[in-house]
């Protein structure tokens, strides 16, 4: 088989587009992971479980109240995700502010276990659930390539939400307080930053983003208690791109990962598609990518943590 025989430009373009829409989901998850990490030093291994649980809430709302418009159901699921995130922080991670890194990781894994088990129990009759799309069926075709309305909507929402978050962090009081906390907790506290409020808000935003990611991507797949794990792992990769501190880099990283991973499928390197995330994260971590995004103070804070 020659290169030319297996490579088709049309297929490549199509896979690239699919990859960008998948990357939007990675980016949404990555943004939440970064927000949570910045505010409380927790690498949230429960992120996928939060997304899964909120998507089951979306499923339950659309199943039980058939008449509710999907937009309302989605917003309710996002609100639930936000409450879940804030609740997790207030109940667990606020008490672990002084704890070491591994303790926080293990605690977040424990929360993931609780959420997964509870969801599997509550929805034991819906282990493989179908949830409705937010956008109408059908796709937009230009030339040889096309993209479903749901995918286009996901990309648009992600860009909108991502840019909004970046602006919030840059210009609002909350954003400045959050960045100050990430750089130097003690100093921020002394200057009057209410750590609990800032962190709880960040967790709420993270939970809401996770819920958004789940409700947008799962209509194209099947909802099981495991279906968000692979997305979460790739969301982590997106967060790694920004060294766990940079929102713009996480946003771009998510899209780039999705695009790279899927477009590999149309090349002779197809086999690498599944392992691409692993290779990427290995390269990024070993290159200490956080150096390029974190300020000196943030780097010091990161070093103290791990």
């Amino acid at each position: 088989m020659t290169l030319a025989a297996t490579f088709s430009a049309g297929l490549f373009a199509q896979d690239l587009l699919n990859g960008i829409s998948l990357g939007a989901v990675f980016a949404l998850l990555g943004l939440g992971v970064v927000l949570i990490y910045k505010s409380s030093g927790v690498l949230n291994f429960a992120h996928g479980s939060m997304a899964m649980f909120s998507t089951y809430i979306y499923f339950e709302i659309s199943r039980t109240f058939g008449g509710v418009p999907v937009v309302v159901a989605t917003l309710m699921a996002v609100a639930f995700g936000a409450l879940l995130g804030a609740g997790m922080y207030l109940a667990v991670f606020r008490r672990m502010q002084e704890a070491g890194l591994l303790a926080k990781v293990i605690a977040s894994l424990a929360v993931a276990g609780i959420l997964q088990g509870t969801a599997a129990f509550l929805w034991r009759n819906a282990t493989q659930a179908r949830v409705p799309q937010q956008f109408p069926e059908g796709s937009l075709r230009i030339g040889g390539v096309g993209l479903g309305h749901q995918e286009i909507g996901t990309i648009a929402i992600t860009i909108f939400v991502g840019v909004a978050l970046i602006l919030i962090l840059r210009h609002t009081t909350f954003g400045i307080a959050l960045r100050a906390t990430a750089q130097n907790r003690t100093a921020a506290k002394m200057l009057g930053v209410r750590e609990t409020r800032v962190a709880a808000t960040s967790w709420a935003l993270g939970g809401g983003l996770a819920a958004l990611a789940g409700t947008l991507v799962i209509p194209l797949a099947v909802l099981t208690v495991y279906s968000m794990i692979g997305y979460m792992v790739r969301g982590f990769v997106a967060a790694v791109v920004g060294g766990f501190v940079s929102l713009p880099a996480a946003l771009a990283g998510g899209f780039a990962l999705g695009a790279a991973q899927e477009s590999l499928k149309a090349t002779p390197l197809e086999q690498l598609s599944t392992v691409f995330a692993g290779l990427a994260v290995a390269a990024l971590l070993l290159a200490r990518v956080e150096r390029f995004f974190a300020l000196d103070q943030e780097l010091r804070a990161l070093q103290e943590l791990g």
Binding site: L43, M96, A103, A110, V111, G113, I114, F121
Partner: protein
Amino acid sequence: MMAQAPAIERLAGQQPPAEPPVAAKSSPAAARAIAVAALFAAGLALPPLLLDSTWNAVLSLALIYALMGLSVVALTGFVGQLSLMPATFVGIGAYASGRLVTSLATPFWFAAPLAATIAVPVALVIGMIALRLKGLYLAIMTLVFANVVEEFIFTKPWLVGKGRVVDAPRPHLGGISFASDKNYYVLVYLIVALFLLLAYNVSRSRTARACYAVRDNEDAAQAWGINVAKYKLIAFALSGFLAGFAGALYAHWLESVPSGGQRPLFGLEFSLTVVFFTIVGGVRSIWGPVIGGTIWVVLVRRLLAGSPNGVNIAISIFGAVVLLTMLYRPAGLVAWIGDARRKLGRRGRWAGV
């Protein structure tokens, strides 16, 4: 329960409780040896004699899980590295042993150690990465690697065959067959007891003390002239071998190892299970995984056996227990036994038992 040093307590941001003076060893070493031997014999003989096959199968699984947990102790308990891929090494051992026995006609007695040895170089690769990545980054790396291996390697026909199931028959030795659950329990018991004995001796060795120093303060250990990289790699290799061997025993316990599908066998869920029950039992002690693994297996396989969601309910319960453990008692259940012994010791009875 030696060296309950402060790292895990420190992880949770607590000061270690002051160690009360150890009760004097009033009973002679001989009495202790007899007690240990009696306990060993009881564990070996009583379940096959008194309990039915189902219970024997459950207890052998508990011992296999304990061995998996021991691989977490070797890594997290000894050198303070958290890996989220113990199940990956279990999977390597399981598929390797199954294939060696069925496709290459290797006897189990060679296949199981060989399968465990195959996991060692993989563990060393992760270990070498861990020399550069610490804490958080290592945890992410192992998580992503586990996901990659689960999706990319454990689904490949060259490994798991076209039928996506690897057969792993129970072994026999000359005329003795270990096919029945009771006989297999005896075999697993002997092997796991051997590993526990080895681990017990290792945990009191100079090597282990160097490992504890690395765990508690890497920079200080380095300053004292301890070769941090060497001891981390030793711990990774040991952890891989133990998990691989546990995988081989697990494969022949299952008798056929499935792969792929909606719910991968050796995925994140399995890894979490192993990490959870080890932490619940106590990640610093070689008895921690025995206690934690037994509670887990009995809970899932007996108490919740009738429920289709048994595993998930158990994961919820264990998640909650892990959370409470992390918040209130980071040393695990083992610590309560230590406390009880000390209390009894202070009263003068049972001292030294």
